[in-house]
């Protein structure tokens, strides 16, 4: 790479005039974008801006209606995921295509190995790839026993296992802990140094500033900016994403309420608004021990009261029992030891501690893995809106499901949460991930819940929606709901929570009022000190 080398290498990927319509909706409108060797480009935009459609076209899963995809100077038609991989494009999607009954090593053999499976060699290869990428992955672990972050690591490694020139990462950091995100970005930098181009689809501005060279911003299907990161400010990016123009002032107010991720220069977000003191304890957790799906103890000795009118944040790196705590509190599992009580219901009661019974007592639940646990992709928005109501006897009129009322409320939710859908009958599987999530939130907050269990409610959402969701949680709190907020995002915790409890290294710290602690102290707890 001397200055005298005049040979211009063709770009790894050049998209030109790419257009994709779905019915009347133009999802991607004449988009042109170029990635060269060793370049890390962020593709930003709100939910429904068209980012996922771009990814699907590059991944060979959707064909463009117009425009060309040129790879290393050669126009290509990518008609399948295999064709894209053959052209040197590895894609890690937001939703993983993994077989839950396979081990990690077996998932690597899928579609690659013909003939006999050489398990020791396979395991060694996975370990080698993991070490090279700086990610921790156990080749013998079952996919189904891994959490979201663990499954993502497997998907990333699977993409890297092929000899690729371009790695597309669709919202990779949204499900990662800060440590793992940093490791991921270190890996991205190593790949860049090796000459691999990386297209990073993200909502998180922190990701853009920490690892990307260029930022391409989409707004309603169009590319509204493609500029070097060095000359950009967070406010400009927010404005581009929300309004499609770099008018910093317009978006600044919105940005401030949205997320702590916004300020790369470390400004703390606005302090939470003062509100009435918390009410009586609603849910009691006593000396609870939680086991992971694989049987190991995630955390022991958790105890706290969840009060009406407070937001109690559960902080900590994913995989330390947060998912299990929420599932136990929602009645989907029972703690391995200890007890949880809500009114007369206790977790030792064999028949009383079920999701249906707890829902009837006013528990709403926004789970971690919404696609798997909270929606039926083949059914429409209306039926998905009814999902947590009809089974416990709401929306019934004279013994039959009141679909008229349900439809009216679904339409109201679509409007209130700004869900991009053709109507209440569109299958939910056809919505983007962010819009699915908005529907789950709208549904769970729709029946004046007494207890809200919210696991990563803003994960994967765009900034405008995050601000909206956080406002809704505050409003529920002020109404008197008891809210448990699981979050790995310190900015969100500082902006929302009244108290915080940290699960780390097998033990629980707190809960302590947020006013009596510091970010440094909580950070130290999260790190296990």
């Amino acid at each position: 790479m001397t200055p005298t080398a005049t040979r211009v290498e063709p770009p790894v990927l050049a998209l030109s005039g790419l257009t994709r319509r779905y019915g009347d909706v133009v999802a991607v409108d004449a988009l042109s974008l170029t990635l060269r060797r060793g370049e890390v480009v962020a593709l930003l935009g709100e939910n429904g801006a068209g980012k996922s459609t771009v990814v699907n076209m590059v991944a060979g899963m959707t064909q463009p209606d117009a425009g060309t995809i040129t790879i290393r100077g050669e126009p290509r038609r990518l008609t399948s995921a295999r064709a894209a991989l053959g052209a040197g494009i590895g894609v890690v999607h937001q939703h993983y295509a993994l077989v839950s009954s396979f081990t990690v090593a077996e998932s690597f053999a899928l579609g690659e190995v013909a003939g006999r499976l050489d398990r020791p060699a396979l395991a060694a290869r996975v370990r080698g790839l993991a070490a090279e990428a700086g990610l921790s992955v156990d080749p013998g672990a079952m996919i189904g026993s891994l959490d979201v972050a663990g499954q993502q690591r497997v998907e990333i490694l699977k993409a890297l296992a092929r000899d690729i020139d371009l790695l597309v990462l669709d919202e990779p950091a949204a499900v990662l802990t800060p440590d793992d995100a940093e490791r991921l970005f270190a890996m991205v930098r190593r790949l860049r140094d090796r000459g691999v181009a990386v297209l990073l689809i993200t909502h998180r501005l922190a990701d853009v500033f920490s690892v990307c060279d260029r930022a391409a911003v989409m707004h309603r299907g169009r590319l509204v900016a493609d500029r070097p990161v060095a000359g950009l400010t967070a406010a400009e990016l927010v404005s581009l994403m929300i309004a499609g123009v770099p008018d910093a002032a317009a978006a600044a107010a919105l940005a401030r309420t949205a997320t702590g991720d916004l300020s790369p220069d470390g400004h703390a977000p606005a302090p939470p608004a003062p509100h009435a003191p918390a009410g009586p304890a609603v849910m009691r957790v006593r000396d609870v021990t939680l086991r992971r799906a694989n049987g190991s103890v995630a955390v022991a000795g958790v105890g706290f009261d969840l009060h009406a009118g407070e937001i109690l944040a559960v902080a900590g790196v994913d995989g330390n029992g947060q998912t299990e705590l929420v599932r136990c509190m929602a009645g989907l599992e029972r703690p391995a030891a200890g007890r949880i009580t809500l009114e007369a219901a206790t977790s030792d009661d064999p028949s009383g501690w079920t999701p249906g019974h707890l829902r009837a007592l006013g528990v709403a639940h926004v789970p971690d893995d919404r696609r798997r646990h909270a929606i039926a992709p083949g059914l429409g928005l209306l039926d998905n809106f009814l999902l947590s109501h009809v089974p416990i006897g709401r929306y019934l009129r004279r013994g039959l499901v009141d679909r008229v009322q349900g439809r009216a409320d679904t339409e109201a939710a679509i409007a209130a949460f700004g869900i991009r859908a053709t109507g209440p009958d569109q299958p939910v599987g056809r919505l983007s991930g962010g819009n699915q999530q908005k529907l789950v939130l709208a549904r769970e907050l729709s029946a004046q819940p007494r207890v809200v269990l919210a696991a990563h409610p803003s994960r994967g959402l765009d900034i405008r929606t995050i601000a909206f969701v956080q406002d809704r949680l505050r409003a529920e709190r002020d109404r008197g709901a008891a809210i448990l907020l699981v979050s790995a995002d310190m900015g969100e915790i500082e902006g929302l929570a009244d108290r915080v409890i940290v699960l780390a290294g097998g033990t629980a710290r707190g809960p302590v009022p947020l006013a009596q602690t510091t970010r440094a102290e909580v950070g130290a707890w999260m790190a296990g000190h």
Binding site: Y22, G23, D24, A27, S52, T53, N56, M61, T62, H95, A97, A330, L332, T354, P355, G356, H357, R359, A360, H365, P367, R372, H373, A374, I375, A376, P377, G378, L379, G380, D383, L386, L387, S388, V390, P391, I392, G393, L396, G399, L400, V401, R403, T422, D425, P427, G429, R430, S432
Partner: protein
């Protein structure tokens, strides 16, 4: 992806037509291989099954139990529960109905008939319940459980018609004739079409309302779409498995009762075989929609009747009718697997 602007049902209807066309094409090919004129045989098939008065009447007679069992299969499949036990549930239902006949003596005829059918439904439901409890309580696979229960039911019938329920003469392995007031009346003179047709059509309406509009039906459909989300929403998965198997059993038991009270007049060995598997094809081709079940039941019943005509008129053997059933079942299973790929964007 061009299905984005369509309602979810229309691609399903297209699938059903594709599968049906494949079945007919394969059948035509096999007839051709057998050395016959495929077109002539297919025309004879359709004429024999649907276009002659006596053929059409026979088709309706056969469609009645297929429709009832198919409704039950549709309920179970909607919940992702595979009820292969229609035949056994039908037999036990018929046995239970015949067993209560002495208790119904002296009641007014409508009441007695209602009692007979309730007993049949209870018997079938109990047989379905066995598989349901085995699945919900012990995690037994309902496919295996229901198939095994079919074999047991055949033996139960065989014992009953030689023992407790045998006709007083004690000669043949069969029960006594039902008294006249317990027979379902013939609806159309000169045919064997009984009031069982009304029973089947009422059942269609009831099952449709239950599936489409009741809390139970919502839980059933939701469980089939995403069992984890259903549990999360408050549906009890064990209850769903038990209730759909019991409901399917009740409908099959009703079919058995209608066969006895409307057609045969008594219980005898082998009086209703092979409905269970055909009913699976009926339910699948109806895309598990109860309103389409009577239509597809007529279709398969007509195929059966028409195949008899073809076998008499040509050298094509009767079992060829099974080809279409097999293609429909296998076709939908294969397409179901293909369609389980994650939805994109």
């Amino acid at each position: 992806m061009d299905g984005r602007t369509l309602t979810p049902r229309r691609p399903e209807a297209r699938l059903a037509l594709v599968v049906l066309a494949a079945g007919v094409a394969l059948l035509a090919g096999l007839i051709w291989l057998a050395g016959e004129n495929a077109l002539r045989a297919l025309v004879a098939l359709v004429q024999g099954g649907f276009l002659t008065p006596s053929g059409l009447a026979d088709t309706v007679v056969r469609a009645i139990p297929l429709c009832l069992i198919g409704l039950g299969v549709a309920c179970a499949f909607r919940a992702g529960v595979f009820n292969i036990g229609g035949d056994g549930q039908l037999l036990i239902g018929a046995c239970a109905a015949v067993a209560v006949v002495p208790l119904l003596a002296g009641l007014p005829a409508p009441l007695a008939l209602a009692g007979l059918m309730l007993a049949g439904m209870a018997g079938g439901a109990a047989w379905g319940l066995v598989a349901g409890v085995l699945k919900a309580r012990f995690g037994a696979n309902e496919i295996i459980a229901t198939i095994m229960l079919n074999y047991i039911a055949v033996q139960v019938l065989s014992w009953l018609v030689r023992g407790p329920l045998q006709e007083p003469a004690g000669v043949f392995p069969r029960s006594a004739r039902l008294p006249g007031e317990l027979r379902l009346p013939v609806l159309i003179d000169g045919t064997r079409i009984s009031a069982g047709l009304v029973v089947a059509l009422v059942a269609v309406g009831v099952v449709w309302i239950l599936l489409a509009r009741s809390r139970w039906g919502y839980g059933v459909t939701l469980t089939g779409q995403n069992a984890e989300a259903a549990r999360y929403g408050g549906v009890r998965p064990g209850w769903v498995a038990i209730s759909v198997l019991a409901a399917g059993g009740a409908l099959a038991g009703l079919a058995g009762t209608v066969e006895v009270a409307g057609l045969h007049g008594r219980l005898q060995e082998g009086f209703a075989t092979g409905f269970g598997i055909t009913a699976i094809a009926v339910a699948l081709l109806a895309r598990l929609n109860p309103l389409w079940v009577p239509v597809t039941a007529m279709g398969f019943a007509g195929l059966y009747v028409g195949s008899g005509t073809v076998a008499r008129a040509t050298a094509v053997p009767f079992p060829l009718v099974n080809v279409i059933e097999a293609v429909v079942i296998l076709g939908f299973l294969a397409l179901g697997v293909l369609r389980r790929r994650p939805a994109l964007e």
